[in-house]
Symmetry: C2
Amino acid sequence: MTSAATADPASLYEKHRSLLEAARQACAARSYWSPYPDMPGKYPDADRAREAGLAAFTSHHGARFALAQAGVAGSFAASAQEVSPYTRAALGTVYEWAPADALFDAAEAAMPAWAAASPEARLGVLMEVLDTLYREHLFELTYAVMHTTGQSFNMAYAGSGVNALDRGIEALVYAGQAMENVPRAARWERDFGKTRVRLDKRYRITPRGIAVCFTCASFPTWNAWPSMMASLATGNPVIVKPHPATVLPMAISVRVFRQVLAAAGFDPNLVCMVLDTPEAPAGKTLVKHPKTAIVDFTGGVRFGRWVEQNAWPAISFTETAGCNTVVLESAADLDAALRSLATTLCLFSAQMCTSPQNIYVPRRGVETPAGLVSFDEIARRLAAAVRELTEDPKKASMILAAIQSDATLASMDKLAQDGAAGGEILLRPAPYAHPEYPSARTSTPLMIKVDKKQRALYAEERFGPISFVVACDDAEDALRQATADVRAEGGLTAFLYSTDERYVARAEDAYARAGAQLTINQTGPMPLNFAAAYSDYHVTGLNPAGNASLTDLAFVAGRFRITQSRRPAA
Amino acid sequence: MTSAATADPASLYEKHRSLLEAARQACAARSYWSPYPDMPGKYPDADRAREAGLAAFTSHHGARFALAQAGVAGSFAASAQEVSPYTRAALGTVYEWAPADALFDAAEAAMPAWAAASPEARLGVLMEVLDTLYREHLFELTYAVMHTTGQSFNMAYAGSGVNALDRGIEALVYAGQAMENVPRAARWERDFGKTRVRLDKRYRITPRGIAVCFTCASFPTWNAWPSMMASLATGNPVIVKPHPATVLPMAISVRVFRQVLAAAGFDPNLVCMVLDTPEAPAGKTLVKHPKTAIVDFTGGVRFGRWVEQNAWPAISFTETAGCNTVVLESAADLDAALRSLATTLCLFSAQMCTSPQNIYVPRRGVETPAGLVSFDEIARRLAAAVRELTEDPKKASMILAAIQSDATLASMDKLAQDGAAGGEILLRPAPYAHPEYPSARTSTPLMIKVDKKQRALYAEERFGPISFVVACDDAEDALRQATADVRAEGGLTAFLYSTDERYVARAEDAYARAGAQLTINQTGPMPLNFAAAYSDYHVTGLNPAGNASLTDLAFVAGRFRITQSRRPAA
């Protein structure tokens, strides 16, 4: 349980002011910063905290998860989709079921007092939410994420825990900046003819209205927290609509928001949760609800595009997916490059929106200090590097973790067969025996060698541990094809290996135009697709992989509007 | 002709830096500031400048207006719609006609070099554009606006001239702030395990793409210049699509942009103009053009809503219209209030998006120090105040100016007849004899007394000098009805007279929720609907009167995106 003692918002702002200021400086410099320990072992009193988190997580199994939302009227329902990818057992948590209209009404009623609070008051309360998530629920959330998404324990802690908290603070920084840009009051004086007119003007941050936040199955907190922070900081209530397979992390989050809001004297219905099922999806109804003013969406391309096209008069912020590209032109240390690529292809079984998928290689091969390495040799060595990382089940379990959904396995099976017809299988997927969870849903990666003409195979997002080594006419063609695919199909990240600085410069230009964030010649221990809060902008909005970026001013500035009144100065 | 001597962008930035800094301080304080003389007589060497401006304007009559745009191929066409509301004579200016595809291609080709320039370089060039408009074209533009829109000479100078220039500088201030928020480069260091990873990161302001800017018939420059500045400052080319009745002010503007851009070493096709006709409107084709990335639209509600709903994947910024409301609850000086209201109802024949239209009054009347003044008496005295301002043709010509379009007169005629059936005519419109232009298209205002139930009459924008005095149940009902109409039908401005501070506070809340900018108890020489650059936010985006505000961060922040590349530090 959250021990949210009553605290007034002003003192909460004072409590967190220095942290927020440090975060603001990090955003300005975009240097490394985080107030959180980056590994679970570094958490204060880690063993005890981890144990308590596991107990808290376990206590949700088959239990009612109460939020005390408006209009609940005793209805509870389990999410039948919520099955641990590790144990294959249903969590059986039973959630409040409230009709959407009741939640919209309650959120609307909660808004005026929240909107009337100062931006600092809201920032103080929301920093307290993040602090409470960190201090009291981090390991509970870690296990909840792990057993709904299939992430490894370490990734669930780092990626879905502290890094997501950092993204939340970051959103508060930008929301604060956008609101600070608007003065609260002004004295305005001007002569009209011989008369001096003096006006007192007041400006209000006026929230746009209720935000609906759709969260995804594989990485729910990382996008949800910053979106929720951006909407709430600017005065808007949030209704969270979790993916049916990954409700628990959001239910825990929503309850903390509600408890901290209530303890600070605000209506907890500022943050609600609405559930649906794959059989009866509520998405379109929520987006088109007359009280919906903002939509945040993380998930599949098809519904994401529908949201972008149909949310009006609501505004939308989307992150969907794409085919992230690698261009391998030349390498100073080919082994190190292939090892880094292999690691990133394996990380969480490439179930991340930033995971690379297509590796474009000149047909004649890749220049190295030891001479030209042929295309076939590159494909073979990359596949070997992936195999080496995944052969040992213990190592595999740490890097591949589990597969979130049966659908991913099914699509891999199908593609492995189709791919055999269209391309050449470099690595055939197989389950590996998870050392800790014998029933875990696992698979080693599928790798396919194709010609660039076989776009039907590779030129779309293939979710899961699936990658393509694509033979291109030459280095220029590899870059042209990769960036054209990003522009057409979307792409968040891109990776380049080249020792030719002129080629690197052309690639920087081409990827900037295509709108994928480029990592150049990186090797070593950092996962290539690591996106650092306060430093790396996530999604550009320039291609079909989404229209919003974590975090720029555009992510926050439209969530509120400015209203004013003016009158003769006293 | 513009004497745009070759000047490098960096020196242009230095030239205008102190002015831009002063504007920035004005935006932060939202106090009064302008670098320009507020009346034409204060312009340096005013008589000569005015004469030269008239000569320049006259020289366009029946003449070819060359822009040397791409793809012109010798095609020119007159805008048959371009007829002076004062002389009723066609201007006969013959404009370049270029196929839209050629302009899009040329604008796209021009973009990379402009995008690669620094934000400061772009700001320097754009400040030079505004300075050139001011120094060399202000009176030419004043006459061009006057003889296309029907504005008076003084309003064309002040409202469409210097105030529009101020709005342009203001947009540059916000664009500069949004871009400054993004550092150009960063060094990022973090430990992964025992290894320190050091990355050099570079961030680019990447323009979204080509902006299409639709300008309106009655006030073209005031919205166009800030929109163009916002798009261009953030790296995007602009294709201007003027209203067919008001091409000349935009043609003059576009030519200045092109000349200054070329003189600074950039491709003039960064700013193009495309023409259409009422018979063959190009609007939808331009909005849905595959190369359109941004749409700025000022004009009618219907097409504005279509733009908002259909611009995707382009983003849109709209200002349309609504029924601006007045609530008259009580007054310390009723005569002064009615005089101010009457003046504002007459100003430019209420052909401004900020003109009031509906005056909501409690049925029992309005409290004053002299006692209760009945509803009928209020209506009568307001109509009398309007009559007094418009009885003398010389006075009328200065305040009412001319009617932009025959359609406005026709709708007034129709309404005067319908209104007689539905409401009670307080003031019947009639042409007045313009002392200087005997053929001028003129009309005194139409005023109608209605009951609040007669929403079919008043609950939509009635363009032109048309207003309604609306009888409401009581003071609360007046406020409720007025703000409900704003929420449903749109509204940019609102005006309140009340001596009851609790009522004022409720009205401030209600109008903030409805999204109309409120002026309280203002009397005296300032037109009530005067919107000051750097101080008054114009349009809130919270009701159907438009989705964008001049100028907030949201107006600029989405016009560019942030792309990045990162690599191991050297």
